[in-house]
Point group: C2
Chain length 517, copies 2
């Protein structure tokens, strides 16, 4: 059996994954890269049409011209989320061409991609390196994928591309609007899905770049969220995606009294911690609880006549309304979670599209995360050391991606409002099934039965010392949960590593093992 | 004496310049780069402030922290044109610190930089690689610069950075507005000068990047034409530049009957060549004649009820008016030539900022130049093979830069409206003093006494065969000029090469020699 090394959060990490050497997590800020960014080949205009028209007849032609062959890495982005119509076609074509052993490198995959399971079984696709939501995660958890999955945060994915850790052979970029030169955006057209930021690194560093659209306009396609100067081929198709399926989370503020309580406690905590003041910044999210937190933030701001300098999206109707009302000066958006978000991004120049490069790249000269005053995140599990899990459920199944979650941990204050238990499973444990975020970066756990502040945040403990909120230790919260639900049973795993969880710096913070039947 | 090689336009090129091997021009589209783009060092957020605040107290501190030392390459951009207030200070500081042998790599230099002549004399600055307008050009022509000047087009400069031909140690970026993280733009603030596109490559590839502004706003500075994720230090100064000095060319349509005639002939030629039609695109420029051409284009469009899909800027009041009137759908702008251009770029989302990467990079996957239907350019001299000169005068003095001129030659039709003679010097010669653009890319020469179409453009000759315009051969035009002015005397040069002229692909198309006293 392979040699395993203990990493800085006490997890056993193999020396190699997918036959490549990996680096175990060394602690936050402890691993520094050496060397230089990945250097793509220098192109020459002489190899491209003089008039700039790069349009080819169809996707198969583009893939063929791009030199699709065994063992290549195909990247894609997930702005259409569960409404993507292209990636299944890409691998249908690969299968038809008899191509084997591909690495799929999406920024995320969704239930709609369950179509690809036969290709994972027959070896057309060796493995997925990217967030897996739903069926593909279950398939992987059952040990059925040939290669080992690698999960990266949105920022970690950009970093891996920039650093040359992942070399993309062919990038597939799917856009609401494009011109035949390859300039493209996600804000215009019948299939507008918002922005194309997750594909930015792919466009910059991939060997070949293919842009598909169902709305091919005359040059120039404005705005050019993707620049045609990086693009090799353009393709017009009938329909690129179903934008109505980009919705994430619930689209309405929760009506559950428990969740409303969580949201109210979160807003109250932020208020008592002096976070909500004129010019502050926040990131909440798109779940029902998060929407409620935004609502309570709005109530407080309105009452005091203050406004936020910016909010980080995932945007949706609620955040857009706050922007329009003037409660927020800017939305810095990484992903639109509903069509109101798309419309606002198209029409309002204060609704700004970002990318994992600007927002989250850890191997840059800083990123935007550290500029955010407070970020409200979720978790499937938290442990008594504040380590948190977002990828596996308490039954051990790998069902979620990391998204921007890890990257956001570098914000000034990180709060996780979570229920104390779900389906009688305590959420606060001695050890989380998978460590995705190290506890030192997680400041506050808010449950319906009490709030735990990370002992490292002495400033917050001091500020809240006379609070009427139920401040407790995390140990107390855990015991309270166990009093109600009992001590939870742990899922049982085999030794087989089915997925690796990367930290933002490219090191391995944890692995996920195959579930025992 | 050094060995010289004949290049593809018959010019003798040395093997080495500034002690680096150079490649002689091989013909349009004949030289293809191998290898990979320049790969900057991978940074780590751990080396930058957690809260993203990179502001230091002053320029000298920033330069010191950036490690300024002998032999470094300092880059700058010329959006303030003759109103730049920073670069003289940079070299004042270098002089004060006793630094020697710097390479200054500006996108262009202007008369205001004559201040630097003592530093060129005392060896603080070894040489300038960038367009020199005025006194610095004269200084160079007199053989007084220690190193050899290298002149590149705007696109060639980006390409040189991207390809690693020029490695920038410290990039100086001067912005109308910025935040302390380093996001910056040129559209807002009292010193708004338009855009920052010429500094894009510098920001992406330089080892250290310093952003200066006199309008430091709270994060986020929107739009971020320069992304703070590339920036090392930010500095607030009292005043970055004098935007009222960005004016280029005349600001009014010419009243000279000769020039108006040239402009009218140009518009008429374009019309008869079927170039002016609904959805066409054009680039004129900012001189008095060019403004008149735009005006005549506007008259034709208005009369026919058609509009242009886009115009390429240098923008100014005239182009902005056409945009506002709806005669042009988009301005794709590389440089604002007056404050109306700045205002329009700030307020009108159809007035789009570009960069030499999007517009002009020849070592990319195409660029925008080939998308432009017709471009109207100037020249100091043209020869009977349609080769043209824009950098030296007929007296042999190097007084101008290349700008985007070479890059624009890849547009679909290139027209040079020029007077047949200037100050009794014929403009059409047997041989130009310096070849900056190869004749095969120059389609039409329009003079007040006749129009010459390049024999390569059989399509244009055919279209104009029944024209009432005075179509002649270029030989006829030359003879006509000589009949009036006599055969011109040539300037006399020593053997000393004082400047090299790069073609867009990085090869040397010509050199400029020191003038004999």
């Amino acid at each position: 059996m392979e040699k395993l090394t203990l990493n800085a959060v006490g997890k056993l990490i193999p020396e190699r994954i997918n036959n490549e050497a990996v680096i175990p997590f060394k602690g936050v800020g402890k691993y520094k890269p050496t060397g230089r960014k990945y250097a793509p080949k220098i192109s020459s205009n002489t190899d491209f049409p003089l008039d700039g028209n790069k349009q080819v007849s169809d996707l198969k032609t583009a893939l063929t011209k791009a030199g699709l062959k065994d063992g290549m890495t195909i990247s894609s982005h997930h702005h259409f989320r569960n409404g993507d119509l292209i990636m299944n076609q890409v691998f249908d074509i690969a299968k038809e061409m008899g191509i084997k052993d591909l690495r799929w490198f999406p920024s995320a995959s969704f239930p709609c991609h369950a179509h690809l399971i036969p290709y994972l079984e027959d070896g057309t696709i060796n493995r997925i390196e990217g967030s897996m939501n739903g069926a593909l995660g279950k398939f992987t958890s059952e040990g059925k994928m040939k290669g080992t999955a690698i999960l990266r945060s949105h920022g970690g994915r950009y970093t891996a591309i920039q650093d040359g850790e992942v070399k993309i052979d062919i990038a597939i970029i799917v856009a609401g609007t494009a011109d035949n030169f390859g300039n493209a955006n996600g804000v215009n057209g019948a299939s507008a899905s918002g922005l194309l930021g997750f594909a930015l690194g792919d466009s910059q560093y991939a060997d070949k770049v293919i842009v598909l659209t169902d709305n091919m306009v005359e040059f120039p396609c404005i705005p050019w969220q993707i620049q045609g100067n990086y693009v090799d081929y353009t393709v017009k198709v009938d329909k690129v995606g179903e934008p109505e399926k980009i919705i994430s989370g619930t689209t309405k503020i929760t009506k559950s009294p428990d969740r409303l309580l969580l949201a109210e406690m979160t807003a109250k905590f932020c208020d008592q911690a002096d976070i909500i003041k004129d010019g502050f910044s926040f990131q909440t999210g798109a779940g029902g609880t998060s929407l409620a937190v935004s609502k309570y933030f709005g109530d407080i701001m309105r009452e005091r006549g203050i406004k936020a300098r910016f909010a980080r999206g995932g945007s949706n109707e609620y955040l857009v309304n706050m922007l329009q009302e003037g409660l927020i000066e800017y939305i810095l958006d990484g992903q639109t979670f509903d069509l109101e978000g798309v419309r606002s991004m198209r029409e309002n120049s204060n609704h700004v599209w970002t990318s994992p490069f600007t927002s989250y790249n850890y191997h840059g000269k800083g990123n935007f995360a550290g500029k955010v005053d407070v970020v409200i995140l979720g978790a499937t599990e938290v442990d008594v050391n504040f380590n948190a899990n977002v990828v596996t459920h308490s039954d051990g199944l790998l069902l979620h991606g990391i998204g921007g979650w890890q990257n956001c941990l570098f914000s000034k204050t990180v709060i996780l409002p979570i229920p104390l238990f779900r389906n009688r499973n305590p959420v606060i444990l001695d050890e989380v099934t998978t460590i995705v975020g190290p506890g030192e970066l997680i400041d506050v756990i808010i449950t319906e039965r009490g709030i735990a502040i990370n002992p490292l945040r002495k400033d917050l403990i001091e500020k809240l010392k006379d609070s009427d909120l139920p401040i407790k230790t995390i140990q107390e919260l855990k015991e309270e949960a166990e009093k109600i639900c009992g001590v939870p049973e742990k899922p049982e795993f085999t030794d087989n590593i089915i997925a690796a969880i990367k930290w933002v710096d490219g090191t391995i913070i944890d692995v996920v093992r195959q579930l025992k039947k």
